[in-house]
């Protein structure tokens, strides 16, 4: 039994311009101590999936239409209600966000922010919580932690703030860490440090990680299993080694092809033409058909959405003949 099992999650936004099907039937599972990656373009629904799990979406306009997310065998995160969810959020599931510059409260000292999970969930007194917080900052590589903990976020650099976020998210030893593009807003040298830090802390604590990103290089670095998302659905899933060696779906192949390092020097860089489909319209067939250049566009399904199938052992993909050819 996996630690977290998400089945058929649908999250829709009811806006003035119609219903946006941001997440449209997503299923995945997280094993204890493992790392799964969720990859996709902006707007593919990767962040919304994870926010749905923790009830962090603004509702309205967001609404979870269907699905279940069984955490630790008995708690359905989607239906357990705010009160139970609050005992999970920040205690058993931690989360770090994309932009460390805006994700920390500028009006509060680092100390007050970082001890908050301990005070809320562990009932620790201020003194011992502070001691633990200083230790946590030390573990994520912040120099002079007992001095820096009294500072405000604006006195830290971007990389340092992301370290603080990681320390804060992991301070209660959560079973799952959701990392929502934690390296996107950082420059490349800092990215590497942050990734290494997440890996190191994961190893030490045995935390499972859900890693959301649009950066395939990051995924290959950190994840064991990879889910590729497109237009609110998962279109391909395999282990990282399998996926990078043997990508099947046309979208995955296009993504890999558009990595600049994989292309011949001097030639025009490959990009996927067009834009992701508008999810407020019902897509009758294969969502990738119009942008499909690598597969056979003419064979793409037009009348029914392709099924998500195990096309090879432990390698799942949307079964659209045009995209798989």
């Amino acid at each position: 039994m996996p630690l977290l099992e998400v089945n058929n999650l649908r999250t829709y936004f009811h806006t003035r311009n119609g219903i946006v099907r941001a997440v449209d039937g997503v299923s995945f599972s997280v094993e204890k101590g493992k790392t799964i990656g969720i990859v996709g373009e902006s707007g593919s629904g990767k962040s919304v999936s994870c926010y749905s799990l923790l009830g962090l979406l603004p509702m309205p306009p967001g609404r979870i239409e269907s699905g279940e997310a069984i955490f630790d065998r008995n708690t359905d995160l989607l239906s357990c209600g705010e009160k139970v969810l609050r005992t999970v959020r920040g205690k058993r599931i931690g989360m770090i966000f994309q932009d460390p510059m805006t994700s920390l409260n500028p009006y509060m000292r680092i100390a007050d922010q970082i001890i908050e999970p301990l005070r809320l969930h562990m009932g620790m007194d201020k003194g011992s919580a502070l001691k633990k917080a200083i230790h946590a900052l030390d573990e994520v590589g912040i120099p002079e932690p007992d001095n820096r903990i009294t500072m405000y976020p604006h006195e830290f650099s971007g990389g340092m703030r992301q370290r603080v976020m990681i320390a804060m998210a992991l301070i209660t030893n959560p079973e799952i860490l959701i990392a929502d593009e934690p390296t996107t807003a950082l420059d490349v040298t800092i990215q590497k440090q942050i990734l290494d830090l997440i890996k190191k802390r994961q190893k030490e604590l045995g935390t499972a990680v859900i890693f959301i990103t649009h950066d395939l290089a990051v995924i290959s670095e950190i994840c064991e299993d990879v889910n590729i998302m497109y237009a609110g659905r998962i279109i391909e899933r395999a282990s990282a080694t399998e996926l990078f060696a043997n990508p099947r779906h046309a979208y995955t192949r296009s993504l890999l092809k558009s990595i600049p390092a994989n292309q011949t020097k001097g030639e025009k860089l490959y990009t996927i033409p067009g834009l992701p489909p508008d999810t407020s319209q019902i897509i009758p067939g294969c969502a990738f058909r119009e942008r499909n250049q690598i597969g056979d566009q003419s064979k793409c399904l037009t009348d029914s959405r392709p099924e998500f199938k195990e096309i090879e052992p432990n390698h799942w993909a949307q079964d659209c003949p045009g995209c798989l050819s």
């Binding site: 962090l56 959020r89 205690k91 805006t102 009006y107 509060m108 908050e116 604006h154």
Partner: protein, 309 residues
Amino acid sequence: MIRFIINRLLQGLLVLFALYTITFFLAKAMPGEPFTTEKNISEEAKAYQRALYGLDKSMLEQYLRYPINIVTEGSFAVSTSKGRPVRDIIAQSFPNSLILGLSALGIAICIGVPLGVISAMRKNSWVDWGSMSIAMIGICVPAFTVGPLLQIYIAAHLPGLKVAGWGSPIDIILPALTLGLTTAAYLARLTRGGMLEILSQDFIRTARAKGVPSNKLITRHALRGGLLPAIAFIGPSFAALISGSFIVETIFQVPGMGQHFVNAVIARDEFLLLGVALFFGFLIVIMNLAADILTGILDPRVRLDSNQK
């Protein structure tokens, strides 16, 4: 911090001097003079009066003498219409305005801030819609409408409350309510706006992801930043509240300072006019400074002292 305060006070001194200059020449530009009355006063008597108040000197001499007297003698001249030192007049009427203004501000904060916070928390609900409509009405309806309405529908029916007058502490209630409601309405709108801005920030999502319950989310995480616009507004409006309102004082017969702003003009009493105008200017400078210091305390990113670090 000390450096910042000294800097600002020096700037304030410049502002006050500019205010003095403008008020002085505007007062001089008024038609007539303090001793123009319907009674037929002989030219000799008028000349005697002018000499008594130093109004026979040249314009430049008068312009320079007033601030010099303030600095050297602490004297704000003598009111030509009341025949008493302006300082005494302000010292006597300001405490009444101060008490009234403080009560009004208290009412404004106690009504406006919670209303704004609740509206922001329940955005686009009927609570939000209702309280913001009331706030809009509060901003639009002038004091000379609210005051008489309170007199007719509340003071006339409740024992203990007087329609007008200034004697027992209970007399403060109605004028303070009249004076405070408009400020409460502004505060409600500013607080709502500030809170909505903060509640949409990423760090609020972080706090929720930590499992912070919604009441603590407001009090610990959002309120500090959300109140900043309201505080910037409270500073100068506090100065306006405690320096008295002519309308409210007239309606409720309060012996405050607000009456002097208007009566001094009517009586062409330039010394009283200068006195209350400068005093009001002084309050504005001080309250703005206080608001800035408070902002600096609430928002650690605001560094008051630009030379530091």
